[in-house]
Subunit: 258 residues, 2 copies
């Protein structure tokens, strides 16, 4: 088991900060819910960026909100941290304790370390490329063995938005209809980790960002899972969208993709 203790500490600290905002009741007379979540997002990101910078001086950091602290994704950097301080903002606002911090360390364009942490359930998933295994807390994890679509639990990355639903249905109609249960989830990082852990058999998301998928992609791979771009080409975390499954289900999905 090899994990980066420094990153672990940063996750726990940033997680405590997010939890403070999460547990706070929205103040209707002062600011709306969505301002509160932006504040939480920004505060967590600032903490993470500052702490990464001091722990790993000279390494590039990419994070969505940080502005000058985090220059745009720079393809020339050898080592780069990719940070999503709050994946699952809508759940965070709605009082649903399924959101996560995602931190990945990229080396020469490939994810070398991945960390995904839910501060409410205190689930920390991580993996390092050099070791080639994935963990939840200290336990090694592996993908499920479900081979039959009729037994499969499949998550789709959509909220109650008819355009997105129609888009999934047009392409994945048979999977929608035939899987044992389909779930609509909007937290790519943690949901990919639940594929890695064998709780879900597959996750199909056409819209997830690089920050949401970078760390978890490595975790899926090193748990024995298959991760692809949404268009079924070889996975590159810099693309939007991703598709992950256990190897049996990945074949089934390839077959069903239209």
């Amino acid at each position: 088991m090899s994990q980066n203790e420094e990153v672990h500490k940063i996750l726990v600290e940033a997680g405590s900060l997010l939890k403070c905002y999460y547990e706070e009741a929205p103040k209707w007379d002062e600011k709306g819910r969505f301002e509160l979540v932006s504040e939480a997002d920004l505060a967590a990101e600032r903490l993470i960026v500052t702490r990464l910078r001091s722990a790993f001086p000279g390494e590039a950091i990419y994070a969505e909100e940080a502005g000058e602290d985090a220059p745009d994704y720079d393809r020339d950097a050898t080592v780069r941290w990719i940070v999503d301080p709050l994946d699952g903002t809508a759940n965070f606002v709605a009082g649903i304790p399924y959101f996560a911090i995602s931190i990945a360390r990229e080396r020469d364009g490939q994810i070398a370390e991945g960390y995904v942490y839910n501060p409410v359930s205190e689930e920390l998933f991580y993996s390092t490329r050099s070791e080639g295994r994935s963990y939840l807390r200290d336990d090694p994890i592996t993908v499920s063995e479900t081979a039959d679509l009729g037994d499969a639990l499949v998550a789709f990355g959509f909220s109650a938005n008819m355009d997105a639903i129609r888009k999934y249905y047009a392409r994945w109609g048979p999977v929608f209809e035939r899987c044992r249960k389909g779930l609509a989830v909007i937290v790519p990082s943690m949901t990919l980790c639940n594929v890695a852990r064998g709780r879900l058999d597959a996750f199909i998301d056409f819209g997830c960002s690089m920050e949401g998928q970078a760390a978890a992609a490595l975790i899926v791979k090193n748990a024995g899972g298959v991760i692809l771009n949404y268009d079924l080409t070889e996975h590159d975390h810099r693309n939007k969208g991703a598709l992950a499954a256990n190897p049996h289900l990945a074949d089934v999905l390839r077959h069903h993709a239209t």
Copy 2:
């Protein structure tokens, strides 16, 4: 603040039991995920029913699975406990820490006490009819003040199931399209509590069971919210489905219902 300490203790105990099952990795060679969740469900229910029986002798208990321990819902009983030992089984299986235990005490056909507990986030919501207030842990809660659909966070009770989605869309198309954000959630008890707490502005569910909504209906009402049957008639927890919102949004939803 008036809560039933005995019920609180039962919830925490049953919650610990559920958490053990939740954290356990599914054992693929022994039994499937869905057998595991039935086992968790049944074990939690057995614990709750046994403990309620000994704490409140002579009071009827209705629970879905318990068989002889819990005879069918009996309309003649004056006092009756309505138990959902695990609302949100699909989330439980999928590794999503958004599920709950729901316990309601009915007197003369009306909910007198309601308790909803998420054992992972340790959020306990409760309300008693006599006091007329609702609480999260020890803090009083109230519904949101959002009046404009364009600002509203609305939850719909569906998973990735096209029939259910089409049914919602046919009736609630404009709400789907115009709300600030729509979420698909499948944990009626806890989601109603998130309306009570002002995190969500509305929840629309055509299928939720009596066990899933009984306790939370009181919690919504006593937090200043509106709860109706899915067909917009006066709420009766014995009906399938429910619609809850803050009073402003309830008017908007009445207007949009077709």
